[in-house]
Amino acid sequence: MMRLPGFRYRAPRTIGEAAAWLAENPANTMLLAGGTDLLPNMKRRQQTPSTVVALRGITSLSEIHNGDGLAIGSGVTLSHLIGDARVRQSYPGLWQAAAQVATPHLRNMGTVGGNLCLDTRCTYYDQNYEWRKSIDFCMKRDGKICWVATSSPKCLAVSSTDTAPMLQALGATVTLVSIRGERIVPVAELFANDGMRYLTRQPDEIVTSIRVPAATGWRSAYWKLRRRGAFDFPVAAAAVAARFDGARVVDLRIVLGAVSSRPLSADRAAALLTGQDLSDELIESAAVAAAGIAKPMDNTDFELVWRKKMVRSLVSHALHEIRGDDMRARRHQLARQELLIPASASAAR
């Protein structure tokens, strides 16, 4: 069996206390929220921090506040997020993304901040220590080479977060706090296209909240490809957010998930649609343009050429959905899940 390696456990009660502990030794300290990403990685010795700073005791991180949009604490669980009527009503794409993360158990544990900062994934990395040792490791941990493309100077592990592409499409920002102060960056700038240094978050910074701008006039949708309907990481995804004036698109963003080491903004595809009515022809042109920038690698589930082709379909489905087409049958075919709202959430509305 796989035991956790030893570590020093710290349970701060305030963000300031957490930032101070993190600042003591940022390179060897990791933040623990839901534990659903960090603890498996620690068991497989992919991540071996000497200190773990647990954020669970900081109650202010688990709140969702109204304002000009929504301010979502980084410690809000994914179950809490999808149970929130404001999210369901105003940010359907975010609801669809969060509701398709993992399983009910894992959503009860995993947090929005954790999903945003989710470690990148790869066939050659997400393995136990002995497996990785048998191939002399890879550059992401303990080794020198990238087994996905042996001449690659950088790690090609895949961004596998569902909420990040959607939050990026919605124009969300994140607040980062350290003992040096606080800064707010767009979600788009939180990521870098490098499987190892995929976050621009500094080692001493804590993601404390995610602010989603007001949704007035905006529609959003998230489409995900995965092996199993029950649960799986995305192997391709499309997040679309658009503001309409009648039938005309005033503003639109398309962000692809799981086809790069970061959420990938398809700006040229989005530009094709801005200022236009969403005709079938334009949707197809934009979907083709978006698929053109997808760079899936052969390091996760499914065949990569097919994944790239599927990006075109996912973008097309998302655009049809925000246009108002009835996509329920198609969504059920792909997600193989009703994506039902728990009774408690419906009651809250």
Binding site: M109, F231, Q337, E338
Partner: protein
């Protein structure tokens, strides 16, 4: 290092001295001898280790034991009361919802949380609630039918 952990397990107050790197699953099985909760994939993929923490289903293989301080834990051993099986247990036995039985404790505990929150769930809701519990024997049909039967049984 050992840490002193105080919590409630199956409605009984518990105090235990456990290694600080241990998961809740390891403390339940190794320090409290509650081996009903099963040790499956260890990585949060199979649902065999599901327990309720303050009434919510979570995977005990991914909960640090130290983070269970002061919490209310329910394991499969806490389902039967006064020598009588919980309706879910009875229906699982009557309808053949368990074969090898390894996934059963996790499924029972997850189904209990569902029925506590939603006494009459639809079949789709049952499937969704149990979507994190893998069973390699039954094909799931008997499991879903047993949960439906338990929902109808007097409690």
């Amino acid at each position: 290092m050992k840490v002193r952990l105080k919590c409630t397990v199956n409605q009984e107050p518990v105090e235990v001295l456990a290694d600080d790197y241990k998961t809740l699953l390891e403390v339940l099985r190794e320090d409290l001898q509650l081996t009903g909760t099963k040790h499956g994939c260890e990585l949060g993929e199979c649902g065999a280790c599901a327990v309720l923490v303050d009434g919510t289903p979570v995977l005990s293989c991914l909960v640090l034991a130290v983070e269970s301080e002061g919490r209310r834990i329910t394991t499969v051993e806490g389902l039967a009361a006064d020598g009588r099986l919980h309706p879910l247990q009875k229906c699982f036995a009557d309808l053949g919802a368990a074969q090898c039985g390894y996934c059963t404790p996790g499924i029972l505990i997850t189904a209990k949380a569902l029925l506590d929150a939603e006494p009459n769930p639809s079949r789709a809701r049952i499937c969704e609630a149990l979507s994190g519990n893998l069973c390699r024997c039954t094909g799931y049909l008997q499991i879903v039918e047993a949960v439906e039967a338990a929902a109808k049984a007097p409690r």
